[in-house]
Symmetry: C2
């Protein structure tokens, strides 16, 4: 089985975007409009979009979450974020109920700049216990480009981490859109968020406090595997433990869109810590004119790693996902 742990509902019917724009515009006044989208409309977007690509590419199941760029936690206030989050999580749940063999739900959480992350616990419990979500996306920068909130290792996050551990759900560290004109979203802010998170982990005792907490750093870990020697050296200079110790808690996905990048990822990071992902339909949507293949069709890159063993491929495509996402096994059994 090939499990893609990183997909977003980027193809939702336009009513979602329009509803969100009206919600944002309503700031300061009550907004109680229901989101109206029919099952048929959902089915059409998925069948023409993510499900078609799953079939074309030979993958089986996608861990599916609301659009990361659309989380946009900086808009409005905490209540804006709570309402938006419940709405998109419910929509993702509908997708997964309509296609239970192909999509497993992952939630966003109602972060908001300056608001204590403990505010996210209710929605996380609702999603996991009530709706069968198996993981969450966690935005390390709810300001969406200005980074004025606490680092991921700050104790402000601890109540949320306690709940994650209790519920056995991992988080993908995933920034949202950038409203900073210096940072292109998918081309700079995304990768920087990944890099920042790993360096924060190097500096901290977070995983001593939470030995079973699990994070996935997407986009192949940002700059991290390419600069693995730099990180090893910085950690050594700082008197920190070898960075390999972080690999008890931190995993990297395979959203790296060329062969040489994936080769490096698989060579530098132990196969036990790599989880297959494409982020389709996401950051890069085109077909590479040179290869004739989608840039984000990441399976052939894994298959093409020189000398990769069947055992390592099995870990990357399937068994690591089952290890990182403990609730996945149950969900797959129910739907199988």
């Amino acid at each position: 089985m090939i499990i893609d742990i990183h997909g977003h509902y980027t193809t939702a019917p336009t009513q979602l975007r329009d509803w969100r724009l009206r919600q944002i515009d309503s700031a300061g006044t009550p907004f109680n409009e229901p989101l109206v989208i029919s099952d048929d409309e959902i089915v059409e977007t998925i069948e023409k979009g993510q499900l078609r690509l799953q079939r074309d590419r030979g993958t089986d199941v996608t861990l599916f979450s609301p659009t990361a760029g659309g989380m946009a936690h900086h808009f409005g206030d905490e209540q804006t974020s709570v309402q938006w989050t419940r709405t998109v999580n419910d929509l993702v749940k509908r997708v997964c109920d309509l296609f239970p063999d192909n999509f497993i739900p992952v939630c966003q959480i109602p972060q908001s700049p300056g608001v204590d992350p403990a505010n996210c616990i209710d929605e996380l419990e609702r999603c996991v216990n009530g709706l069968g979500f198996i993981a969450l996306n966690l935005n390390p920068d709810p300001t969406d480009g200005y980074w004025t909130g606490p680092a991921l290792t700050n104790k402000a996050w601890y109540p949320l981490y306690e709940k994650m551990v209790e519920l056995e759900v991992p988080a993908m560290i995933h920034v949202s859109m950038s409203c900073n004109p210096n940072f292109h979203g998918t081309g700079a802010h995304y990768l920087n968020g990944d890099t920042v998170a790993f360096m924060q982990f190097i500096e901290s005792e977070l995983f001593k406090d939470f030995p079973t907490l699990k994070f996935v750093i997407p986009h192949g870990g940002g700059a991290v595997p390419y600069h693995w020697g730099r990180y090893r050296g910085i950690a050594q200079d700082m008197g920190r433990p070898p960075i390999e110790e972080l690999l008890n808690n931190v995993y990297f996905d395979t959203c790296v869109y060329h062969q040489r990048g994936i080769d490096l990822l698989v060579d530098v990071i132990a196969a036990d810590n790599i989880v297959f992902a494409s982020e389709m339909i996401g950051a890069v949507r085109g077909v590479d004119e040179r290869s004739g293949r989608y840039f984000d069709d990441t399976k052939p890159y894994i298959d093409g790693v020189p000398g990769i063993t069947e055992s390592d491929k099995q870990k990357i495509f399937e068994s690591n996902a089952l290890k990182v996402y403990p609730r996945l096994k149950t969900t797959l059994k129910v739907t199988a």
Copy 2:
């Protein structure tokens, strides 16, 4: 000849740090203290530091600039930055005059948050025309971690770029310290600054406006070569030209501190666009306990790239530097 295009005077006598602290503390009141450091003191720091490592590692010449983290443009106001910049540039000039065969001066510029970059032209002219500096370091984020200024492609920078073109001096895009607790300096802010710069270039017409403007992106280009497919795809999706066109103006250094990272850099980026650098004595100072070599001893990594040709090594170690830094040739002739 082996030219290291990226070295900083990180070993300056402690009087420099103390002077700077008093200058920062004096904010709002006149500060006219001279910096007192003897030639003997400079000689000692260099002979025990960068010159010793040059000799040990078999490199010949270092392009030498003030400590990047120390630029710290966010402190005080424009005049604070002007005074500090002149002071450290003069100190770097003294190093290079004392060791003219081994160090060639590169300046910092007196950037300051919210201040028009055109304010840097006077100091750039003083350094280049008056003191023989051959390049500059340009901080894409003078706020030192909050990124509230204009992107590098904003026309606010154009007067400075016009002067760079006129003087034939390239800039290394190099952030300074981070005062944002989310961003470790050398482990996150540095690499993010590199990544941000390249993505800004993809989005812009900057090099149509300045066809001969040259930038070096340090630290192996941040996340860029590892994510080359992502950048190719994003550019294609945006209807931008192939990113290889940027390589008429953009070069990457070799400050990547492990073999596999350098292998990827040399494989993905044309040898014509890679310039040798170590950043010693800089971000990573230790000896790798596993290899017994300094992490930042980057020459063996270049020598160790599988299948690298003598011609490519010659470009990376020497001839590209002479191409990117037109004033270097004259300086080397004078000192030879």
